[in-house]
Symmetry: D2
Subunit: 363 residues, 4 copies
């Protein structure tokens, strides 16, 4: 998770960036640089977002492929759904690896970003602990490695506030020393929507800018800087309290506007808010139009978006810091999510692991 | 922290209950059953709230004494302030113990409520770990105990979801077996206000209703049920996301109303929101009057409080559970708070500890 | 694990007590009060030791049934063996529960003894965390409980050095408050033999004397004191450094004696030491006779057992405390053992759990 | 701690290597390449061992300076002694840094070797967590850094079994990326003597061979390979069970021999074993001469050292692995030792820290 970040102005999720900025319908490609496809299976919704250079500029996300898995497996503490989610993640990750040109025995370096001592930021380190690490076996005892395993290393660079070292410098040092064929990075993210917390997994091939290196090309870990594929896996684990409130107010406006127009609709129709897969964050279309706002919310409804945010921020941040919050159940959510992701990665990296399934299931 | 609780309808803090319900000015006693006194020293604000039977019914808090310490020592990670807060807590706790008739060598049982595996609920167990426990020494090796120490025991009953046992039954069993002269309970609380999270310590002599025993007289741990003083120390560590939003909207209404009326005031006057000790939660006086609401917020402003809450709740709880959130930095906040409280308790229970100060400071 | 204990004079394992004191052959019952039966399946050796009053006095173990499982599943980190060990434990525990008259829906209280902050003593608390706890569901939401589950509660009393309260008082308080139909206690033990560390599980129906209550009938938790069955599960996790050395010296004497007599035997015959299931601790028969000792070890060989122990103890305990040691890998050994035991207990208590196997396997 | 190591043939401590191999009296320099000086203050014994090339070959330790602090502060859980030990460590470390030519504002990289999940091997990671890290402040916010602080970074490379990467490759990568002026490495060691466990701190300027790189010059982290000073701080936390026993037997032989010769001495004379600072491991002089052995221990006494070791090893390692053990109290010993060392390092690196003493003492 990036520290000292202006979370109020952006999201780490391409899906949210796209929803906030464009009117793309799923399945469409309107020539403005962002293509979106969706499908859903086993209660897991998969969205593919492809961004080209034009789209990158418009939505503020780097060009490349983004795959988003949405599932309530963790929040419902549903073990069977979690098994399904691991398997779906394995499949999607293997697909993305193929698209990046990664071959069967290519050597992988897994990097778990984040701070192991800050629970909502500990996802990377926790996943790393469960990765099947094999590089040393290939080097020292190659005869002991079964077929179906590739050389995999894993490390956790820590965060700059604890090490004093730029995270990207740490990663650079290890890449240069160990020369992997590809890099896989795991990190906790910030979301705009509390519905996405611990309910979304984003895969991407666009590389990362760990820590304060944002905007500094030299600090980027990407195919451009290293000539090797860099795949990232991110999960939103925190949300800005300002965003919660801002979205709530917008939704209230919208809600009133709708009621106003649709008085004849049966009142027990499922509210969009009830279905997190329908609603997610508010999209451009959801925002109230001027007429609605005036009637419903008086002066407040007529404020500019930025003014409303500023006002709400003033209310919520008397202590002067970013107020990122996480659900009370953060400990078990993060542990379960780490377990799901580690199993998904292990399955994608080591095709032979299906033989060892019973074994891996035991722990 | 009480599980399965309807957090949206109440607060665990008497201070908030009083602010929400009455117009008592500090220092006043208007005969309606709630008396409030305040003072501030060393950046720590102390509020004494005394509730009699009439007041109890009105604000929904049991009759008795409530002492609230407010300090940003933990959130600012200011070590010197934390030392001061420990000492202030020691002093206030000793005072309350005296008022309850607890004598110098009376035997104390410290009970750390909460779930050690859920960080925002782990305050009680963490404090318990740092208590200077001596009862066994008095019983087995009395010659080894220095002057200035009293017999103290400590235990953590866990939570019903983990033990299968009502917390109050656990506490009853231990009290009946060990016959302490007084009980001191530590617990994490819910607050209505995000400003109070990890910034407030509430002492009280009114006893507790641990777990689902709320409203069940038999389950209460109090002087009435045991004939011994029961003092509780609580710290709000979570806040309901619904409440955050609801307060924000109310504040926005208020803010607009004020601007509307006070256009001539210098615009750079410190907003109440900027000073957490001024503002705290919104009081009755802060709520917008009808005229303000109409002009500012249109239809929304005219909703009943309960209707607004319901609307906001609908927006925020699509998953159907209470959405309690805690700051991202919960791990270090809880550890530091546990350390402050344990030092405060140790100092209050064992006057001789000042001699061992250097020693206790070392770890 | 009992604190402040004279580990050098005894063992917590009936199997070792019996080996040290008697010449019973497996399968025999020579009328002196100790009956021993063995069998082995799936690399797990099971020994049944039944002690009557006469035997109890002779070997210093309470009369009753002792079942010992021996397996290298944990130390070899063999997951399949660990699954087998869990299942075998389930079967043996269910058998012992039947023999104690425990019925299908009888309410069980699981007690995890030991100190969660001292890794080799954390077995009880770790097992307790993984127990399927259901009593509160039966009481509050009986409609949610599937068939095949019984009411089960679980708690960890902690240790006297941390709570100030006698462990037995804690357990008494909870039993009296919750009135279970039977009690199941888990504890870490001391062994005489380093081979047994984390390689042996002992079941028994003889009750326990937690903490310093040893020898104090009032402190005992047993069928005699409560009128309900009390089953204990213990695993040796520490060994006395004096015992390691003492056994080594005895073994060396024995080894020389054997070589002396059996010069013609092929020198590559498997040494007893190579097979932990053969050797375990030294039995009476293994101790060198006087003639051997004289020839082999000179003066030292002729010392009384107690003199030798005293001498070795003097060498090893310059700091004046009991020198209990544990393998360097204690963290993973204890975690794995806790997992094996918790799965074994869950399976024995809840016959319905086999339906939920996939689920339980996931984590 | 080095993995897969033949602990039985060597020790990580120069002091022990020297005692095992030479007859150097403290204060002497007999021209054979090892110089030894001792002094004692505040219950802390300091031994300076200087090894030149000739000595290096003889005792199997690299040429350079070794400073050993011996104290029972941790094992006696004596807080005041622990404060003293931290201060003594600060002083000795500062002295060694001066001798290595490290200047006041030179940039330091602290490397915590070991496995955070294996308690006796977690010393390095635990120390690293408490280091005052400042490099990022110097780079990003130099105006916030007080006088008396130098740039310090810290990281934990993990162990090869977990990362798949050679520890030395990890350290190389970070050094090349961050270009520190000196490196300070913390590691857990193996000792020959159970008396030294958690009671000895060794400083040295000879560099390290982390992990399996032993004997591979390319893997060494030292002044020779980097041109910058490399100082190591090591604490023995485990001991080989074979060594415990072997030393015990030797001591028994010696003890008998002494009694035999010195029958007239008062029998209550303090046994060397009673004073760990006198005795430590057995030195060449302590080993029984042939005549003693024959009389006292018969055939066993006449075995070669290597034969005895082999015999004892056979007794103790039926499971086929190195049997490294650690005291039962390993958790608190390692935590306290990490705290002492981190405070010692912080004080040595940052002279300004004395001003912040109260603050640092608070936690």
């Amino acid at each position: 998770m990036e520290e000292n970040f202006d979370y109020t102005l952006r999201t780490d999720l391409a899906l949210e960036a796209q929803e906030m900025n464009v009117k793309d319908e799923p399945g469409s490609s309107d020539g403005d640089g962002v293509e979106v496809h969706e499908n859903e299976k086993n209660d897991i919704k998969i969205t593919y977002v492809t961004v080209d250079e034009a789209g990158a500029e418009r939505i503020g996300k780097k060009a490349g492929h983004y795959v988003t898995l949405e599932s309530l497996a963790i929040r419902k503490q549903d073990h069977q759904l979690q098994v399904n989610l691991s398997k779906t993640l394995s499949g999607q990750l293997r697909k993305l690896m193929n698209e990046c040109g990664i071959k069967e025995m290519d050597r992988g370096l897994i990097v778990g970003l984040g701070n192991a001592n800050v629970t909502p930021d500990a996802l990377g380190p926790l996943v790393t602990e469960e990765i099947y690490v094999t590089t040393h076996l290939f080097e020292l005892h190659p005869e002991t490695v079964s077929d179906g395993y590739r050389p995999v290393s894993a490390f956790t660079p820590g965060v700059m506030g604890v090490t004093g070292i730029e995270t990207s410098d740490m990663v650079h040092g290890i890449i240069e020393q160990t020369k992997p064929d590809f890099v896989l990075v795991i990190d906790a993210l910030a979301s705009r929507s509390i519905n996405r917390i611990n309910a979304t997994i984003q895969l991407s091939d666009t590389g990362i800018h760990p820590g304060s290196g944002v905007g500094n090309k030299r600090k980027e870990i990407s195919r451009e800087t290293y000539g090797i594929p860099v795949i990232s896996i991110g999960v939103p684990t925190v949300v800005d309290a300002v965003t919660i409130t801002s979205d709530a107010i917008d939704y209230v406006l919208k809600h009133f506007g709708r009621e106003w127009r649709e008085k004849d609709r049966p009142s027990n129709a499922l509210s969009p808010a009830m279905n997190p897969f329908e609603r997610k964050t508010l999209t451009a279309e959801d925002h109230p139009n001027e007429e609605q706002s005036k009637a419903v919310m008086g002066m407040f409804g007529q404020l500019e978006e930025a003014e409303k945010k500023q006002l709400i921020k003033e209310v919520l941040t008397p202590l002067g810091h970013n107020l990122m919050v996480t659900p009370k159940e953060v400990d078990s959510f993060i542990q379960d999510m780490a377990h799901v992701i580690a199993k998904g990665i292990n399955g994608a990296l080591h095709p032979g692991i299906e033989d060892g399934e019973a074994q891996s299931y035991f722990k």
